[in-house]
């Protein structure tokens, strides 16, 4: 366990849920970094065709495998269910992307938010609170507009509606039951925050847009799919 110099909590208090599908080329770096800093890591191998699960396990993560691909929302819910089983002695659960976009330093910063507010239940990462963000122009416009719309659809003032880096207290995990299987789960998160009256705040996070993460990331046209899927929830 490594003490977080900024927070009263330590990295061992956090279970990082890392959903992964066919991420064999990058998963080792992501998992090793988290494990090296003392975080508990649970990798959800979401029906990968490549040895993602085996590599994650050899890097020090616990691995749970979906026999078929279900989607990121389903993977996160599997992780939440395991977190609530009590096998891990943790106070917090983090959701962390496997493709190396997220920074472990951002996660440590998010942990400090809980020091200041004992009633806080979820810290949402926001790439737009980071001064030097490298968000591509098109993506920035769409994401900022989507965040603005969240004021009307959910009554929540957030600056980044689709950020995968989140830190949840276990009490918040109990209130989250994701039914959206795919990428629309980010919207469902906001809906549940509003409905379950979960206290939240945002924290700046650093996102690294590598060629790999760009190729694996969701094209903007997918935002239409998310909206369409929401209609049939």
């Amino acid at each position: 366990m490594i003490e977080n110099v900024k927070s009263k909590y330590i990295s061992g208090d956090v279970l990082c849920i890392v959903p992964a599908m066919n991420e064999a080329t990058v998963i080792e770096v992501t998992i090793s970094e988290l494990v090296g800093l003392g975080y508990h890591v649970l990798c959800i191998d979401d029906g990968s065709d490549d040895p993602t699960g085996a590599i994650a396990e050899s890097a020090g993560a616990y691995v749970v495998r979906h026999s078929v691909n279900l989607g990121q929302g389903a993977s996160l819910q599997t992780g939440f269910d395991i977190a609530l089983k009590g096998h891990f002695d943790v106070k917090f659960v983090a959701t962390f992307d496997a493709d190396g976009q997220h920074s472990v330093h951002s996660l440590a910063d998010m942990l400090t938010c809980f020091d200041e507010n004992p009633d806080l239940e979820i810290v949402l990462g926001s790439r737009f609170l980071q001064k030097d963000n490298s968000v591509p122009f098109q993506k920035r416009v769409v994401l900022k507009f989507a965040a603005y719309l969240a004021r009307f659809t959910y009554g929540l003032r957030v600056t980044d509606r689709h950020n995968g880096l989140r830190l949840l207290r276990l009490s918040a995990v109990e209130k989250i039951d994701l039914k959206v299987l795919g990428y629309g789960h980010a919207d469902e998160f906001l809906k549940l925050i509003k409905r379950q009256k979960i206290s939240y705040c945002e924290s700046p996070v650093e996102i690294t847009y590598s060629d790999y993460s760009k190729s694996k990331g969701q094209p903007l046209i997918n935002s239409f799919r998310v909206v369409f899927d929401r209609m049939f929830q």
Binding site: Y62, T78, I82, Q233
Partner: protein, 98 residues
């Protein structure tokens, strides 16, 4: 109906809609003159137009029900896969705790 597909009222409404649509189409084929009279009474004009509009509504409704049914099955499949994954995970790492 779409959001509540798994509820009994949603299932009954879907089946009722199917029966009404089938009877209507059979009626339209057997007595086109009556359809024209209904169309005029409704202000649509021609019976053919009424059948076209009704078909379009049926098509959209059928698509919506199919999507809802598919989503429902997808969710249940996901629950099954996740349950299997959980059992395998616990027997692999925490067998002695069970």
């Amino acid at each position: 109906m779409i959001r509540n597909y798994d509820r009994i009222i949603g299932k009954v409404t879907a089946r009722l809609g199917f029966v009404i649509a089938t009877i209507s189409f059979v009626f339209a084929a057997l007595d086109p003159g009556a359809v024209s009279k209904i169309a005029q009474a409704l202000g649509v004009g021609r019976g053919t137009d009424l059948v076209t509009y009704f078909s379009a509504i049926c098509l959209v409704g059928l698509s919506a029900i199919s999507i809802a049914k598919f989503r429902h099955l997808e969710y249940r499949n996901a629950q099954l896969v996740r349950r299997v994954a959980l059992v395998e995970f616990e027997s692999k790492y925490f067998a002695d705790e069970r």
